[in-house]
Amino acid sequence: MSDITASKRALVIIGAGPAGMSAAVAAYDHGIRDILIIERDNAPGGILRQCIHNGFGLHTFKEELTGPEFAYRFEEQVRERGIEIKLNTMVLDITPDRMVTAINEKEGVFTIEAGAIILAMGCRERSKGALNIPGTRPAGVFTAGTAQKYVNMQGYMPGKEVVILGSGDIGLIMARRMTLEGAVVKAVCEIMPYSNGLTRNIEQCLNDFNIPPLLSHTVVKLHGRERLTGVTIAEVDAQRRPIESTKKFIQCDTLLLSVGLIPENELSKSADVVLDRMTGGAEVDEFRQTSTEGIFACGNVLHVHDLADFAADEGAIAGRAVVDYLTGNLKQQKRIRVLTDGRVRYTVPQYITSGKDVTLYYRVSNIFRNATVGIYEGERKLLERRKIKLAPGEMETITLPASLIASIVGDTIRIGLEEDK
């Protein structure tokens, strides 16, 4: 039973993770009351509900919280303000003129005309299909996040002898989690010569349990008919090609894939939102407005954050900006594109449109030591910062003050990185 006449809402937020909830709170606190959050799950919290480990909130709350505790803080703020959340409701489509179509059991399919939309759908994990490991396709291969959901929310252990491919944080966290629950984690293979995980996770999730991180290693074959019985691993050369003579069989019944996250942007595409190839998320300005007017994005749907705190911060930026947008106060005088040199892989935002201080979030493509990160207009230096160490796994920031933005004459600037000679 679909509703033919669409109801109207000032602001619709898609996703009740930390980014979406923080955006709602910021929008409310800056004066908008007519807010609706739509969440497909049966409770708010997003991915944090399954992240029961600690390490959240140091930046936002100055204390170390677990994922559910961190999410709960935002849930309370949303509840105190009486902001409406529709749970068990999935958004199916959004249009460039901000018509939101969603479905749930009670109301069926319905459409809402939104004054503004904030995209906060989070991300999904890369999976085996995308990886192309030869061999059989037995049961026992999971993404690390799926395994996390099984163990932490359903109390079901996916297996007893585990190999993990990829050294992303979720894989490292799951290595510890499964070890504590009685499984044996035999190896963590990382194709790159460095780990993408936080150092703290390498120390506390692998070294604490004597789990060897095998750098420059990958899984080259799966074994087993119905259930996985083992994997063949091999060292890789500088071009990431497996070296034949290093092939080794490891017996295991479970392979966890922790090979990266991709922003969940199917919906964004239907609203003509232009995506950045490097981030997989929308191209945005400093207000987190996408290329489609009135549609904003924040959190993991925009670019993958390692820290929930930063996802929430970004939600607050978008929430505040939406209020200015809805009240006609979003002042955008210019459109300066921020280009990257490849060593700096991407920035968010990609565009600067106003005269205020702007913080650029960025990631680098490799490990660099003793480097200078700089922002330039042509040959002219705007700003340079020294960095002792930069790694692809850690998001960095650099703030461009209003005075320097005012001095930009053209419509592009460039951010780059130079290592000491």
């Binding site: 029961i52 170390e64 709960y72 932490n152 929310m153 359903q154 504590l180 390498i202 850690e394």
Partner: protein, 117 residues
Amino acid sequence: MKRKLICIVCPKGCEISVEYDETTKEVLNMTGHACRRGEEYARAECIAPKRTLTTTVRIKGGGLLPVRTDKPIPRELMFECMKVINRAEAPKDAKIGDVIIPNILGTGSNIIASANA
């Protein structure tokens, strides 16, 4: 005993080498740290490492409740604590912050709920 560890106190990530006596718990030599905080971290890591333990406990009547230690516990007690927690049950109406197991294994640390049941 000699150990190499990476300091996790700040993003610089110094590689610190520590030489210590396991019986007297004395640090004999330390190199690689760039500051006091790193020195303290490395000393504690070698002499008496502590960890926050996070896991789940069964809820009476069904379901799982995420829990954690309210203070870090000695690292070597993690598996013993897991055994105790895996035998325990949380009440159906447990609230975030409630003590589920007091003073686990005499460590002075409580196991508390990190979500509502």
